[in-house]
Amino acid sequence: MKTDYDVLIIGSGASGGMAAYTLTQLGARCLMPDAGPPLDFERGRTLRPVWDLPYRGFGRPGRFPHITQASEFDAALWADEKQNPYSYPAADPYYWVRIKMIGGRTLRWGRASWRLSDYEFKGKDHDGFGENWPVSYTDLAPYYDRVEPIFKVAGRNEGFAQIPDGKFLEDNSKDSLSVERFIASAKKLGVPTTKARRSTGTLASSANLLLPDAVATGKLTIVPNAIAREIQVDPNTGLVSGVSYVDRLSRREYTVGARVLVVGASTLESTRLLLNSTSRRYPNGLANSSGVLGRYLFDQFYVKNCVECVVPEARGGKASRELMGGGGYIPRFRNLKPGEKKFLRGYAFDFGSGGTPSAKYFPLYGDALFAKLADVANTGFSLTTMGEVLPRYENFARIDPGVKDEWGIPSLHITHRYTENEHLMAQDATETAAAICGGAGFEVIAQHAQMVPPGESIHELGTCRMGADPKKSVLNRFNQAHDVKNLFVLDGSAFVSGGSQNPTLTILALSMRAGEYMAERMKKREL
């Protein structure tokens, strides 16, 4: 087997990209097989009118039954579900949303960039549920400090313990009058608000912020269209010796070796690869002596547009820029003192001012509908809830031997149900959002507490979690497998809990930290 590389990195998204960025700058020779092709930003896209598309923007029916984010414009970017099938219990659909291209899902992420806090890292200490992470906020803070400038995160430091401050491009932009009214109403109800925290730039992706620097060192080789099939283990040492992969286009099979293997293929793809890598030593999946590989799957539930409002003063063409526009974020405020509510943990909101409410909200049609839409043009104000989902053993992914992808690799059967805790939280969130909007003098035209199906938030986490106890976890505090010391899993699968904050910033920070740990150990010949 060819072993010209120090580190093999499976996947090129947030975790794989950051691992390559970190390791190559510390001198490690890295090879990065990725399942997808590179995206050609010059020749791969063009401006096109919607009426020129074959399906006028509706998209080819049935192409993406589980990817609500896909449009006919960007259909080429999302993983085709026929080529990449999976299964779930008939009564509990799971929406597995993937992008198989160099850069992974950072090509299309929402860019919300929040730090986790010890409300998450030490959640068990706080309210008794689940497990603590084997790291604390103090361990990760220096890495957040270094990741935020790379991604040019804009935001405002507030001193909130639940979303720690950071190294931001300070956002001191003035709020519109409608946002000011909303903030004042929230304050009266004891609900905190802040500016959104987002990575900025034309593209805020691994493909433009991490991989180019890694390639520039001369120490990173990227191999597109290389679909990892199985991780290979030396039967004598129990260590990872390499990976077998199949070329996406030719279907030729290859193997390649390295001293250290980093898996960063995204939460469920990484766990799938480990579960598919069985051997006499690891009959239930690589690094799975604990039996929890695949277990404790969770995400963040979304209630999209939980409250939809009209700002009355903006009606009739009076939606000025002074009155409408902008938005912000409400961080978790529930259960910061344990036991405050009937549910555990909490939720956050994104809120936004402006835009015209959808025609679906008005029980009208014809001229009456269009007159109404003209009257409420740009008067909209809406909120979306993002809530913490509790990690539970019963929510899991396993190999479904009857479902294989187009390259013959067994896929996953995914079981994930929301429980009463999430339902209670969603209900509380919608009631709170409506109360804030009502207090601001907005007209609430629609509200609901219906969560999107599990997976749709594209924040799936867990299944290969970190922990101090090898009997209850797969990875140690440096994302290193308890069972296999030259195996590291760096993506969202390592999460122990997720809070209500978008996870990408934490994935990046964990990956940078693990990359430095690896480089140090390799230098000392301990890996």
Binding site: P363, L364, G366
Partner: protein, 186 residues
């Protein structure tokens, strides 16, 4: 003569290379083109005649033409939906076919007339579910669910048409439907 030279002579390569080409012959032309939808009349084939006439009439009622605003008929939204639904999953096909049949049967039973012949006031009686307040969950009644979907689809098919785009542009408005399109990947 060596073999390579002989082949080149046979192919005429040296002679061609020697001919000076005008500049325009060396440029790759980018030809202006139109679209099938813009120049041709779409054939319908999925819905039956009564279903199609009901859908066209529903389009007139839901998205009538207005000042500077094309309607569903101008945008041939019903014809587009005939195409779209023909390729849609079976449950959506049934919803549409049964819903359009019910428009006709309701019109017959209430007014002894075809749906397309009803006055707007009469049709409004049939379209009662469209006056129901929005809920996140789709209505349990299939006819109400059909009307809700058809309303959204007719609006979307009209607003994504060439005619709508032209009207928006003529009025100096944004929202002409231009987007970044990604070519299929090998």
């Amino acid at each position: 003569m060596k073999r390579r030279q002989a082949i080149q002579a046979l192919l005429g390569a040296p002679a061609l290379a020697a001919i000076p080409l005008p500049a325009i012959a060396q440029e790759m032309p980018k030809l202006a083109t139109s679209t099938a939808d813009a120049v041709g009349e779409p054939s319908t084939h999925y819905f039956s005649n009564p279903q199609m006439t009901a859908l066209r009439r529903l389009g007139d009622l839901v998205v009538p033409a207005g000042a500077g605003r094309p309607g569903a008929r101008d945008a041939r939204a019903a014809e587009f939906l005939d195409f779209l639904i023909s390729q849609s999953p079976a449950d959506r096909q049934s919803l549409y076919r049964n819903g359009l049949d019910q428009l006709q049967s309701e019109a017959r039973s209430r007014f002894n007339a075809a749906f397309e012949s009803l006055t707007p006031q009469q049709a409004d009686g049939v379209l009662g579910p469209l006056h129901t307040a929005w809920t996140y969950a789709a209505p349990a009644d299939p006819f109400a669910r059909f009307l809700r979907e058809a309303k959204e689809d007719l609006i979307a098919a009209t607003m994504s048409s060439h005619e709508w785009s032209d009207a928006q542009a003529a009025a100096g408005r944004r929202g002409t439907g231009i987007g970044t399109y990604w070519y299929p990947v090998e």
